[in-house]
């Protein structure tokens, strides 16, 4: 029962997506480029542009800069690619994205604490900013695009079965960020006595690398798919 429903549902959304969400690869490329550039810009502003901090010296401020700069861009751009644009207005998608930011941050923070992130007043700001960044990368795009469509959420996060281009664009960077953060936590307990072994510096680096790799991989998948589609059409 559930199986068949699962199969039919994406197909319907796929049909819709062909008109709306099924991004062409130039669009996908520019979206990812915008997100990547905003991340780079945030890090550059933190480093060179006046603040002169980086992830190691002041992780909390740097991470705050990252989500403050990247989050509006991600919300505005991903809302353009929302599912069923006929029923959902652009403003609504933007509001969803904005609401998803703290909610997703909550989930991320709880997950990190369950995995052993330190709890304490001196870590509070770091944890909050880190989880807001993670939320920007993982939850916000999905919230803008899918809204409250549980099937899509389930497809992306519980089953990891992306179908359309926009699925790939949300799923792969998000999973990349999670897996990267998970591996980024490994050096933390070692006795290398490097400043970047502190929470959440190396975790953020790992997540960043994973996020970028996921973006590149999703572009690759989209290009491959388009190639197939063209072959089919021909």
């Amino acid at each position: 029962m559930g199986e068949t429903r699962k199969k039919t549902k994406p197909k319907a959304s796929d049909d819709e997506a062909s008109a709306t969400g099924g991004l062409a690869s130039p669009h996908a490329f520019s979206l990812h480029l915008a997100c990547g550039l905003s991340l780079a810009a945030a890090l550059w502003i933190a480093g060179a542009g006046g603040e002169s901090v980086d992830l190691v010296s002041d992780p909390s401020r740097t991470l705050r800069l990252v989500w403050v700069i990247e989050c509006p861009i991600a919300i505005l751009l991903y809302s353009l690619a929302r599912e069923r644009p006929a029923q959902t207005s652009y403003i609504r998608a933007v509001v969803r994205g904005a609401l998803a930011l703290p909610a997703g941050a909550m989930v991320n923070a709880l997950g990190a604490i369950a995995l052993g992130a330190p709890v304490g007043t001196q870590y509070l700001a770091k944890t909050i900013n880190w989880s807001l960044v993670m939320s920007t990368w993982i939850v916000v795009p999905a919230a803008c695009v899918f809204g409250a469509s549980w099937n899509s959420w389930q497809r992306i996060f519980a089953f990891t079965k992306p179908i359309s281009s926009i699925d790939f664009m949300i799923c792969l960077p998000a999973h990349g960020a999670i897996i990267g953060a998970w591996f980024g936590a490994w050096p933390m307990p070692l006795d290398w006595e490097r400043p970047w072994q502190e929470w959440p510096i190396c975790v953020s680096y790992g997540a960043m690398i994973g996020y970028l790799v996921g973006m590149v991989a999703s572009l690759g998948f989209i290009l491959l798919r388009h190639g197939h589609d063209h072959v089919k059409i021909d």
Binding site: G111, A114, L115, G116, L190, D191
Partner: protein
């Protein structure tokens, strides 16, 4: 193909054979890898003053001689007139030689020089010589003291397994002094009194227990000093100052207390020196002051490892007479701690201890004439030759020496080569020839050149022999190791094979009936891949010493990640159900779904609190954690928490038991009888006294009540295991004959309502419950009071896991669930404050309820405390068997009872054995590869002891599971009619 071709009994035999093979391999490896006791037994006597071959005049009857005679005999034989008649051995615990002598030609730090003006002036004016006396790891007080007095490096197992200090049995200089009738006095660390009971005419032992005390502990030594220096009834005075070590433990090398403490030590040295100078006229010969430290300390003040800072101990020889030492510079001032024994023995005309591998310290010989120096070197060489002879059978030095002549030395001295025996012979021969030629020539003219070359030749031989013998101590018999490792690898492969066989047997037979099940069984799921990957990562990580030190992080991280993955897996089903409910199916499904999610969350939350309880490991152990916070908060809070934990354990357990309410009589009987020990533990906690005074003397009343609790818990568990299957059996048959419905709460499938199966599952449930409850109560009694809440949290984790296994749909694979429980057990092991260092073993708990000391009982208690968590999770396996659905087995047409038993017991027994064998085998290989690593004795070897003990723990748990299961099975299916009815029911 038929994987079910392995019957139950054959399966059991294969598993048991693999266990035997593994334990054999493990013991072979341990005996091969860890250095054992020294080679020669007994003590050195007059024979040590003769050459080690039998052509000298033999027949010693020294044993019968009275001490004074013996002393005179030794003096005669040694041909050395003793330069001193009294020895003051001043041990400054934990003083790094760097503080006094500097490091690598650099002078010591300014502050330390200023703190010890007198000692520095002694060194500068040539009244004293100082050495960096390298200590052998583990750099802990007792083994270092043993090395110092016996000249031998102790075995690692000897150190690790010797938790309570016992008298030193090996030959040592203190024993030699005692036998020659010298009077000895000891003030300071009571380790000396434990090592040499009854040897001292006066002593004042202080305990090293109160680490925070840096003042009183040394005053207790110094207060005797005035009196002792005035008296002349002693020949050996030992002063062991602990304060400096305590300062280090509290504040590290740079502690603000370090300067004043060094100053205090300097004042003691000055006092001894001045008083001896004053007394000099009264004494014919002098007094020798030897200032030594047993080990150094790291920057943070710890010790035990093998870094330069820790092994850099001090040896200063201060002449208190009128001898002059021509050695003022600190050019060649490195020695070994083991050299002290030989040096002191030669200076005081006692035989060098039999297993000594040290070499006499060159400048200490400056107290003697040239002839005596030569003689001392010769005696040292003979002693080492004896030891070499014991190791290398037929060291053929004898005949070479016979044909030598005393003529031209240049032609006799040869380059040494060939095998190890020939090298030793040749080196010794060179030295002996030069010695003889020097002696011969000396009659005519004193030749300093010849003397120097002879002494140099002796030192070449002594150093070579000493190094070879030291290496020999850690030398490994390759054959044993290879056999041991291959046995372990083989048994590991057998276990892996058994696991695959079980997995196959569970699902494959269904193939033509339920294809989806088959698909499920053969597709690899994320959680399975993750667990395998995690095992792999764990194994690889153990190759790094810092990961071994911080192993707990891996277990915490992996287990909580695994449970997050399970949440994801459960989310797949929840969302699917939500879509169904949105279509219009009943909402009650959501209620059912909430159990798995809630249980997973409680496992995660308890796991996180457990993790925060003890900041384990080595590097970050000083960071704040809940247990430290509780200790600061005071005993009152700890006790309240303890009571709360105990009450919650009792209430939670009774609540879990009530799940089986359909067997009302059973629940009532078991519940009430197990309530009694619960109350007893409560009473014990209430009456428990605050023992922060540190005296560790448990009052008589608490000892008796602890013993009572042991007895009641033991008796109840045995009675429960024996009686419960019978009671359930009898009551079921009675109820069935009365026409009642034979229902059980567990199991909703019709096939499971077969009476015998239900009986088995209920028996498993009750017995598993009894195991868990008793174990938790025992832990509440034994663990430190701060660990009471973690015990409760572990219990919560167990019951939550059971609830999850029972309610999760689709059910996880069997092996995944057992492996997850094993993971939780290991994470809990570290959460209770254990680490891979031997220092965290709770020795104090091992004496609860012990009225007199017994090695066995305290060892057992120590094991119970240390392996509380892994054993708890193993003991929960009977309950897991009862909550797990085995219905897929029973639906088979050709199912026989043996297969059922194999499936039920196979997973909980073989999975822990398999996981443990993978760890054990991998770590054994790592240990072998790391044998030359700097941290082999301080990090890797203690971890290996833990791995070996964990293996024992798994054996124990698996044995309990297997025997309980077999017993329940036998009781349930006793009588053939039962089996017939079972098979009838099948059809």
């Amino acid at each position: 193909m038929s994987p079910s071709s392995i019957t139950c009994s054959r399966f059991a035999i294969i598993a048991a054979a693999a266990v035997l093979l593994q334990s054999l391999g493990l013991s072979l490896f341990i005996f091969g890898f860890f250095p054992t006791k020294p080679a020669l037994s007994g003590v050195s006597g007059p024979e040590s003053f003769r050459a080690p071959w039998p052509n000298g005049v033999g027949n010693d009857s020294a044993a019968a001689l009275p001490p004074e005679e013996l002393k005179r005999l030794y003096q005669e034989l040694s041909e050395i007139s003793p330069p001193f008649d009294r020895l003051i051995l001043m041990v400054v615990d934990g003083l790094p030689a760097e503080f006094v002598l500097g490091r690598d030609d650099k002078p010591p730090r300014e502050a330390f020089v200023e703190a010890m003006p007198y000692t520095q002036s002694l060194l500068a004016n040539g009244f004293a010589v100082g050495y960096h006396a390298k200590a052998a790891p583990p750099t802990v007080t007792m083994p270092c003291l043993k090395a110092m007095v016996s000249g031998a490096i102790g075995g690692f197992l000897d150190v690790a397994l010797n938790f309570n200090t016992q008298a030193l049995q090996d030959d040592n200089i203190i024993g030699q002094f005692f036998r020659t009738g010298r009077k000895m006095v000891m003030h300071g660390d009571d380790t000396w009194l434990k090592l040499f009971p009854g040897s001292f005419i006066r002593h004042d032992g202080v305990s090293s227990f109160f680490v925070k005390d840096t003042v009183q502990v040394d005053q207790n030594v110094s207060r005797h000093l005035d009196e002792e220096l005035c008296r002349d009834d002693w020949d050996l005075l030992i002063l062991h100052y602990l304060g400096l070590d305590h300062v280090g433990h509290l504040g590290g090398r740079n502690s603000f207390l370090m300067g004043p403490k060094l100053k205090e030590m300097d004042e003691v040295i000055e006092m001894i020196h001045q008083s001896s100078l004053r007394d000099k006229k009264n004494h014919q010969t002098g007094t020798l002051l030897v200032i030594v430290s047993d080990h150094g300390m790291t920057e943070s003040g710890n010790h035990g490892g093998s870094s330069f800072e820790e092994t850099d101990s001090l040896a200063v020889f201060v002449d208190l007479g009128d001898h002059t030492l021509d050695h003022a510079s600190a050019t060649d001032n490195s020695a070994n701690q083991i050299d002290i024994a030989a040096t002191v023995a030669l200076l005081f005309n006692v035989p060098i201890p039999k297993n000594n591998i040290g070499v006499v310290i060159p400048h200490a010989l400056n107290f003697m004439t040239d002839a005596e120096k030569m003689r001392a070197l010769e005696l040292n060489s003979w002693q080492l030759l004896r030891l070499l002879q014991a190791q290398l059978s037929g060291l053929p030095c004898e005949h070479v020496l016979v044909e030598e002549n005393t003529g031209d030395t240049k032609s006799v001295v040869t380059e040494c080569g060939g095998n190890i025996e020939q090298v030793f012979c040749c080196l010794y021969q060179n030295a002996a020839v030069l010695h003889r030629s020097w002696k011969f020539k000396r009659i005519f003219v004193s030749n300093i050149e010849d003397y120097k070359s002879a002494a140099a030749a002796y030192y070449v031989f002594l150093r070579t022999a000493s190094q070879w013998l030291a290496r020999r101590m850690t030398d490994k018999p390759v054959g044993l190791l290879v056999v041991g490792i291959s046995a372990m690898i083989l048994s590991c492969l057998i276990f892996l094979g058994l696991v695959f066989h079980l997995n196959e047997a569970l699902y494959v037979r269904e193939d033509h009936q339920i294809s989806s099940l088959k698909k499920y069984a053969f597709s690899w799921h994320l959680d399975e891949i993750f667990l395998m990957g995690a095992t792999l990562i764990h194994v690889i990580s153990m190759g790094s010493s810092s990961m071994v030190e911080e192993e707990q992080y891996i277990w915490y991280f992996v287990s909580s990640t695994f449970y997050l993955l399970l949440i994801r897996k459960t989310a797949q089903t929840i969302l699917a159900d939500r879509t169904q409910s949105s279509v219009g199916l009943s909402l009650s499904l959501n209620g059912k779904i909430s159990y798995p999610i809630i249980s997973l969350f409680s496992v995660l939350v308890s796991g996180r609190i457990l993790r925060a309880w003890h900041q384990g490991g080595i590097n970050w152990v000083n960071l704040p954690d809940i247990s430290k916070w509780l200790k600061l908060a005071g005993h009152e809070y700890v006790k309240r928490l303890w009571l709360l934990a105990c009450l919650s354990v009792i209430i939670l357990s009774i609540y879990v038991l009530i799940f089986l309410w359909t067997r009302r009589k059973m629940v009532l009987v078991v519940g009430f009888s197990f309530f009694i020990p619960g109350l007893m533990v409560l009473k014990y906690i209430i009456s428990h006294e605050d023992d922060t005074s540190g005296s560790f003397t448990y009052s008589y009343g608490s000892t008796v009540s602890a013993q009572k609790i042991y007895r009641v818990l033991g008796a109840l568990t045995v009675v429960a295991v024996v009686a419960v299957p019978w009671l359930i059996h009898i009551w079921t048959s009675k109820a069935c004959s009365n026409g009642d419905i034979c229902l059980s709460t567990s199991g909703s499938h019709d096939i499971l309502k077969l009476p015998p199966l239900m009986e088995m599952r209920d028996s498993f449930y009750v017995i598993g419950w009894a195991y868990i409850f008793c174990w938790c109560l025992l832990q509440l009694l034994l663990q430190q009071p701060t660990n009471s809440l973690p015990v409760l949290l572990l219990l919560v984790q167990i019951y939550a896991s059971m609830l999850h296994s029972f309610s999760a749909l689709p059910a996880h694979k069997h092996w995944i669930e057992v492996a997850a429980l094993y993971q939780l057990g290991m994470a809990g092991h570290f959460a209770l404050g254990n680490s891979n260092s031997l220092a965290t073993i709770d020795v104090a708990g091992a004496f609860i309820g012990a009225s007199d000391f017994s090695m066995l009982s305290s060892g057992v208690l120590m094991f119970i405390i240390t392996y509380a968590s892994p054993l708890l999770f193993l003991l929960s396996m009977p309950m897991w068997i009862s909550v797990k659905d085995f219905n897929c087995l029973v639906t088979l047409r050709n199912a026989n009872l043996g297969d059922l038993l194999k499936m039920m017991l196979g997973f909980p027994c073989v999975i822990p054995l398999c996981l443990n064998s993978v760890t054990l085998t991998a770590y054994t290989i790592i240990l072998l590869l790391m044998r030359n690593h700097l941290f082999i004795w301080s990090v890797f070897s203690p971890k290996y002891l833990y791995v070996a003990a964990a293996t024992v723990c798994v054996y124990l748990g698996v044995f309990i599971i297997a025997s309980t299961g077999t017993y329940i099975y036998l009781v349930t299916f006793i009588g053939k009619d039962k089996i017939r009815s079972f098979n009838g029911g099948m059809r």
